[in-house]
Every structure is written in C-alpha cells, then in structure tokens.
Symmetry: C2
Subunit: 565 residues, 2 copies
C-alpha cells in the first residue's frame, strides 16, 4: 500500500458545512452566498461588520528560490493553518485560486498536498465560483470594445500599432500567443497583430487582487491603459466607456470564496494573479476579512521571497495599509542541494539519483539562497521563520543542516511534516510562528511612493536581488520617461524576472553577486497600480505537453472525476 | 409616469427562496445546489426521484416569422406559466440562458419583459451559474488540444487545411471571426487560419442541450469531429483523448438552473444553443425534470415555427422520446402587417409611422405566414393555439383580425397582455392551452431516422418551408455523400437558414411559394447528433454597434447595476 493520492485523500475528507466554517470565523449566514454544497462566497459587508473584532496576526508564507518542481509552499501554508488549530489558535488561510490551464496541462490540479489540502479539490480546480471566467469576460469585453472602436472610426485616435491590451483565456494554448485578428471582409474589423495571454496574466486579475473596495475596483478599471495615440498619449478603459460594464461583470468575483482544509480550517480562496508580471498574491479583500476572523491569518505569496513576498511587502501591503507580523520561509533539502550548483532539476522528470544520497554538505553548500531570502524578509522589518518542508527520502542530518543555517542567520526554524501528518506535523512551526508574531514587527515598505521609478527599480535590484546595478535598454529608458510624464511615477514597481534565480538569469543558483539587472522593456499596469519592468523572457501563455493531463482526466457515469491530481 | 423599465420591475420583485420554489415542484432540498441567494441548480438525480409523479402536459411556445425586433415570445412563455397558475394549475417554464455577448451589445439583457419576466434579472443575464463559461472552457480545451496535436507531430494525420473545430467566446467581437493563429517562433505552434464563434454557436452548447444523461453527454463529446485527415476520414475528440476532460468541465453545467418569474412560477433556465446552426431549444435534461414537476411544462423554441419548433419536433423530441401536447404560436399585429409586404422593420429603429395606424386589412394581408406556421405545428400532429401578443398602439380591430385568421384555420386563439398585466393578462391563453392539451395529441416527427439525409432535407424544405425543391451545390452534394458514408446518415437535419422568412431568402414575407432551397454547404455536428445544411450566410460571431449597450451599463458603490435592460 503506497501513500494515497491527493485526490483520494481529498475525496475522503469529512467536510464541515460552509456555514459552520464561517460561524467559526464569526461570520453570520446573512453574509454568505452559498455556491453548491461546499463553497460559499463571503459578502464584502463582512469586513465592515467584523471591524470591531481584534486583528489577527498576519503571516505571509514565502520560500527559498524554488526548483522547477516547487517546494510545497501551499502545503506548508495549509498545514500551518491546521497546525495553529492544533495548538489552540484560530486561523484563517488565504490562497490564490488555481488556474485551469495548468490543471489540464501538467499538474492535474491541486492546492496543497497529502494531508494538507484545500477541499473540495474538484471544485477548487474546476471553475470554483466562476471568478476566473468573470475576469476573462471583463478583459475580453474591453478587447472587443477596443477593436470595435477602431472599426467605427477610431475617434480617440488609438494607434493600431501601439495597442497593448490583448485578450485572455484560462487555457494552455500556445497557438494563441501570436495571432492576427480582423481578417475577412470590411465588416469583420481592422486587421492587426495581437495575442492571448492566460487569464491569470490579465491586468484585470491583478487589479481584482489589489482592489480595496467596490468603488476602488471601479476606479482601477477605468484607469486601465489599452494603448496609446500616435502622439503617445495613453487611452483608457474609461475613455472607451468600458469600465462600468467590466465592473458589472466582476460584481460577484470581488467577493472571496470560503473553502476549508482537510481539517476544516477556513480557507479564503480568491483571485489568481501571475507571479512574474503581477503580484502573485491573493486578494486584499480576502485579507481584510481574514484579518478579523481569528487569531491568525496565514497567506501565501508566489515563488521565492525575492518575488511574491517582495510584492507582498512593497505593493500589496502598501495598498492595503496592513502590516505583516511574521514571514515563513519554506526551505527544502532538494532546493538547497540544487542551490549548491551541483545538480540540475527538470520539471516533469525525477530528481537526479545522486541528489537522493544523504549529503548535508550539499545542503550547506546551497545555504546562501536561504540566507538571502531570510534577509529579504528582514529588510522589510518582518521576522522570518524557516519551515523545513520534509520530503520522503530526506535524511535527518540534512534537516539538521537547514536548522543550523537558520540558527546562524538568527532565525527560528521548524520541521514540517504536514504532507504526511496534516496539522499534527505542523505544531512545531505553529509554535514558532506564534512566538515570532508576538514580537514587535517593524514592517515598512522598501521605498517611498515619491521615489522615481528608476530609484524603485534600483532599490529592489540592489537590496532584494543583490545586483550591482541596473542597465536599461534605450526602449526601457524612454518608456520610464514617458511613464513619469504620464503620472505613473508614484506607482510601485513589480519587476518581471525569472523565479528560478534571485538574479535575472535562471541558470544562476544560490545568491548570485557581481551581476547587473538588465531591463529590456517597461510596461504599465496603470489600472492595477504598478509599473512592471521586464527582465528576460516572460511567458504569459503556457503550452500543453505531448501528453497533457487533459488526456488522463475523465468522469464516470456517477459524475466521479478520475485522473485529477 | 411612463411604464417602468424591465430592470425597475425586476428589481421590485418579491422573490421566493429557491428552496420553496423547488418544493412547489416536488423537489426536495437534497436535490438542490444553491448558487447565491436566488438561484439553485437541480441535481440530475431529480428526474429519477420524480419519475413516479404524473407527467405534465408538454407545451412548446413558437411564433410566426418574427420581425427583426422580435415578437415577445419569451414574454408570452413566461406569462403563460404565470397565467396557468392563475387558473389553478401548477406550471414549470423552461427557457434558454441568454448569451452575454448580445447583453453588452444591442440588448442590455432581458428574459421576457414588463410583468412577465424571469428573475433575478441581473444574475440571469450575467454569468448565471457559469454554464456558458463551462461550455467556453470545454470547447477551447479541445481547440488547444487540436493545435497541440499538430504541434507535437500530428500522429492522427489531421489535415491542417481541413480543421473544422474553431474557438468560442461569449462576447460580440467581430475581429475574432477570421484570425490566423500559431504565429511567432517554432515554439508557438503551427500557423493556420481559423476563428472564434460566440459560445451559443458552439457544438458543445448544442450537445449539452441534447444530452439525455451524464453518460450520453460523455459519449456525445467523444463523437465530436474536429476535422479530417487528408484521406477525408473524420478525427474525433475521443481520438484526441479530450472528451473526458471536456465532460469534467461540464459536470456542473449539465445540471439545470432553477429561477422564477415575477409571480414566483418556477423557471428552469438551461443551455443556450443558437437557433440557426443549432436547435434553438433549451435542454432535454431540464424538460425531463420539468415534465414531472406539475400540471404543465411550458418551453420555448427559437424564432418562428419553421425554425425552433421544427427542430423541437424533429430533433429534440426525437432524442428525448417525449411527446408535446400543444403548441402556442405567438402572433403580433406588427409581424402580420410586415408579412403583408408593405412595410420594412429595421432592428434598432422605431416602426414606420404608417404601420401604427389602425388597419386590420394589413393584418389580413399578412395572414399567410400565420396560417403556414399553424400548419407547421399540425403536420407534426400537435394542436396549435394562437397567442395574440398585445403591444401598446395595437387596435382592437387588428387583434380581431388575428382571431379571425386563427378561427378560419381551425385554431384556438387568445389575447395576451402579460407584458402589462402579468399572469392576470394571460388567463385566456392558459384556458385555451389547457383545453388544447387535454385533447389527444398525435405527435410524430416528420421523417424516420432511416431516411437519407437528402430525403430529410427535402421533407423539411417542402412540407415545412413550402419550397418546390432543393438545389445542392457540388460541395454540398459531395459532403452529403461523405456523411452518409461516415455513418452520419441516420442523424436528423438542422437546416441553417434565415429566421426572417419561412424561405431561405430573408426579404420574402408571408409564406413564399415558387422557390427552391439552395444548399451551399453541409456540416456535421456529429457530437450533438445532427447534420446542418447551410442555406445563406450564417453569422456565428456578432459584432458591436457604434454605441454598444456596454457603454451605458455601470455599477454604483453599493453594487447596484444601472443601464441593464
């Protein structure tokens, strides 16, 4: 008998009715909108009604720079929530909604793993309450209105060669990356080149995650820039009279979804912005509710601490006004061994044989990455706790090596076996988080609003990435000048770079030094409220493999799904 | 004080909790999956649990050939359900889900009008429970897998120039009608020309409406033909291993949605297939449930009796095995005046001034169309009842003219004022329907399964459309031969022609004679289970106007929608 599959474990879960989960959070049933039997939306009024309640400790879960296999950050996030329950604390978890494209591509779907999962798993991975689809619909309505504007005379003077607004679908479809639209007859629009991104890469998704209220959502939508005139002036969704309808399409999607863990810990699942060209964090609205619903709110930030956590500190918390109390840095033996530079891990393939041998020295050889990511929490004034996420085949001496690295860096650490043991395997981390969060936090974003865009980029590059400096292409330079002139200079920056290295070179392991950050191009998500310099190739529409997960997923006549996860 | 807007009336409605609506239908709460506060899905198990209950009378609502403005068929359908309640009968209504594309295009959204509407109106017109989006997702997953198959070596030998499967989105976007995908580098797929249709035109939508069970849905999905090899052999979704995942994506969408009228009559809203290239009828699954839920099931078929009702009789009822008991033919003064040939009605413009004068002779001059549509019900063995849908500005003498035409044709008739009076204005029709449905029905489809495709086309053309014969292009002829050879010969036919004339020429009014049906091309919806000959230009992706409804729709800070409907 092997260890059961995620789907088997998830299906055996004893779910508590969502009304009871909400009740635990202090949210009455008048604030709920049930969707099916096991999920409910929470009305936005909940944040106001809960405002008098004590504020939860706010814990962000981040990681070392991951291997292409991922280091189980969601599993630790979910497990930590369960672990806090085990030590007598109430906790809410906030995570992003999985994208359906990868579910049918490589992953088969999941949120967490083993005995630390969000359930119901099928609902979570398939449509959920339709928020992703609402983002798709709102985004593509604007796209249609852009092309319709060209077709009906282009009164705003949009330059057809400088339209930056593309289309989106939640599917892995490489053939849609670069397309020509508007072919056919005169009645079929104006031909031009454009393309589709996956919905998670939509600025509408980024915007939904950063909206602080319904009014703020409406205003942000209006500020979306769809392209530029021949004179270089931005043209907005408001000018196209599209923002009102987009807000209408997002009316339900702005409400967070309440699910639960296998151990019935409340989980707010909401929004799913990309982690490279966007923030990679779940929504501000969900956190507003979760922060008044118990002793702890545990939220996850995408990729390593240089990526999602940096945006959490400098974009999300800046906009929400909330201060985090602790940061969990997930580390694994396999990630640190990889950061030694001796091994190459490839997605979809087993680990190299030699990585499986007991070798704490290899772990120590990769310590620089962990040390730097610990520092990346500290420079924002937040206490780091190292979560050692145990994998089968790890050796105790290797776990000890990680403990030593953490201790040398002055950080707490805890061994996590939430995958195999659920919350019972997470109490050491829960205790460490409880202790760290009780200390005074001195959270502050790394740069002020009034710094120039170049100063902001250079601050993140030097202090978070460890770069010696920043090199701007001439295109990037003129774009930055234009954005400053257009009034986007006060926005924070979201640097789009690889998540596989702290540097912008995905092949560099550890904590690279002696390099400069090359900014090729700079784009503005004026609606979402950030500027994103692009350093390297950012793929915004995945493809499918030769044997995608979709070929193995099926359903029987009773409606039971097979092959998912 | 003018007559209140549809949205104002809808918002003032006193909704009954969906659990109580279901209770009226004999459906217990264990068979419900609530979605938000005012809508619930009904589980498929409901049909089995209700099987012992008496069968409802099955009434289809169809119409004369409509003007481009529409003749209020949904208003009559909804009003009839309410009217049946007023005369002491229990009734369920079954209608299609509105498409969001037109909601943001020309219409602003609606289902029915005045005091005969389906509510909640906003939910109905915006996402509902996400079924349309699920169809979009399932359709486009297959599209991605088709292009992925080409990219990864094309083992099945698909001819890239003979791929018939396109993509879909629920948006009016003319620029997507004809596109080239797969541009960019080698990693970005194989370039080829294709396009997007609106989701309502998806074969997946047609198939969902015609599925009789979960297993049937799965089998139908597998039979979808995506294209042909160079040898002309069909390649299916099953061969691409895509059908299982598509069925998984449609798991919730197969369950009908329960809403209500302004007077709390139950309304099953489910699926939304196009009325020209598909059946234009709501789902078999919804009818299976509605037929065991009261005294009457009132369902609507798209466009005139030559269109939706013909498919209802020859495709939907053939596949479901259910027999209709009566057919309501909606007629209006303005439609019959138009069929006199003296007036031209244009969408989006007011009626010509001279059409508003009292002129019963003009109504009589357009009688041929009504007579033929009455006959089109009778040739299927079903009793017709003419519903005179009153409009402001109609004259009583003109209503009398319609009554005379109906009486001369041996059909019952009733004046309907459901728009202004709700169910109270529909009791005359309800009584007439009750009387007609109590008579013995001799329903039978017009042709047997074993007739050839040409025999089927010619039967519908001569008996329903009144054509002198059928002319096949050489392309159509060879396609028919190929489909017979491929085993599609036993399928019914769904003739795609204009809905603005009983003939294939949209400019011909009344009941045209002395013409032949030109079949330009024939396509197979092998998954949905019909072959569709194409007679004329069929637009499967609408565009937006110069001032689309989307520019007027907005939301306030309390979440209230403005400008919809």
């Amino acid at each position: 008998m092997g260890f059961p599959s995620d789907l088997t474990i998830a299906r055996d879960a004893a779910l508590t009715p969502p009304q009871e989960i909400a009740e635990q959070m202090g949210i009455g049933s008048h604030l709920l909108e049930p969707y099916g039997e096991s999920v409910t939306k929470v009305k936005l009024e909940a944040a106001d009604e809960l405002a008098h309640r004590p504020r939860a400790r706010y814990v962000v879960v981040t990681a070392v720079t991951p291997t292409p296999l991922g280091e189980g950050k969601t599993t630790v996030t979910v497990g930590l929530g369960q672990g806090l329950n085990r030590i007598g604390k109430t906790a809410t978890i906030a995570v992003r909604q999985p994208s359906m494209g990868p579910t049918f591509g490589i992953k088969g779907g999941a949120a967490g793993g083993g005995y630390s999962q969000v359930v119901p798993m099928e609902t979570l991975n398939l449509h959920l309450t339709g928020d992703m689809h609402a983002v798709t619909a709102a985004h593509n309505l604007l796209s249609a209105m852009v092309d319709n504007h060209l077709h009906h005379g282009n009164q705003l003077g949009l330059d057809p060669h400088n339209i930056t607004w593309r289309r989106v679908l939640d599917v892995n479809d490489r053939a849609l990356r670069n397309i020509v639209v508007g072919l056919g007859s005169r009645a079929d629009g104006i031909p031009r080149q454009t393309g589709f991104d996956i919905t998670a890469a939509s600025e509408v998704m980024a915007l939904l995650a950063l909206a602080t209220s319904r009014a703020d959502l409406r205003a942000k939508l209006g500020r979306i820039v769809v392209g530029y005139t021949r004179e270089g002036d931005p043209v907005t969704a408001e000018q196209l009279d599209a923002a009102g309808s987009m807000a209408v399409l997002l009316r339900e999607a702005l409400k967070p979804n309440l699910l639960q863990t296998l151990e019935n810990t409340p989980v707010l699942v909401h929004t799913g912005p990309f982690g490279n060209i966007a923030t990679g964090n779940s929504s501000i609205v969900a956190d507003q509710i979760g922060l008044r619903s118990g002793d702890f709110l545990v939220t996850e930030a995408g990729f390593g601490a240089d990526m999602g956590a940096e945006r959490f500190f400098n974009i999300k918390c800046r906009l929400s006004g909330e201060s985090p109390d602790a940061a969990v840095v997930v580390a694994t033996v396999r990630a640190l061994k990889t950061h030694s530079g001796k091994y190459t891990v490839v997605a979809g393939k087993p680990l190299p044989e030699e990585m499986l041998a007991e070798n704490p020295d290899d772990v120590h050889a990769g310590a620089d990455n962990l040390r730097k990511q610990i520092e990346n929490c500290r420079i924002h004034g937040v206490s780091p706790i190292v979560a050692i996420n145990a994998f089968p085949g790890d050796h105790p001496s290797e776990h000890d090596a990680i403990r030593e690295i953490a201790a040398d860096a002055g950080a707490r650490s805890a061994l996590c076996t939430g995958f195999t043991d659920g919350g019972a395997g997470m109490t050491e981390l829960a205790e460490a988080v409880d202790a760290a969060a009780a200390e005074d936090s001195s959270y502050a974003p790394l740069y002020p609003d009034h710094a120039t865009l170049r100063e902001k980029i250079e601050t993140v590059a030097s202090r978070v990435y460890g770069a010696d400096g920043v090199d701007y292409s001439s295109q990037a330079s003129s774009q930055l000048d234009a954005y400053e002139k257009a009034g986007f200079g006060q926005l924070p920056v979201c640097i789009a770079k690889t998540h596989l290295s702290i540097s912008s070179d995905p092949s560099l392991r550890g904590a690279p030094t002696g390099w400069r950050l090359p900014v090729r191009e700079v784009r503005a998500s004026a609606g979402a409220g950030f500027v994103y310099p692009i350093c390297g190739e950012m793929r915004t529409m995945p493809g499918l493999g030769a044997q995608p997960a979709a070929t193995r997923i099926d359903i029987d006549e009773h409606g039971e799904i097979t092959g998912l996860g």
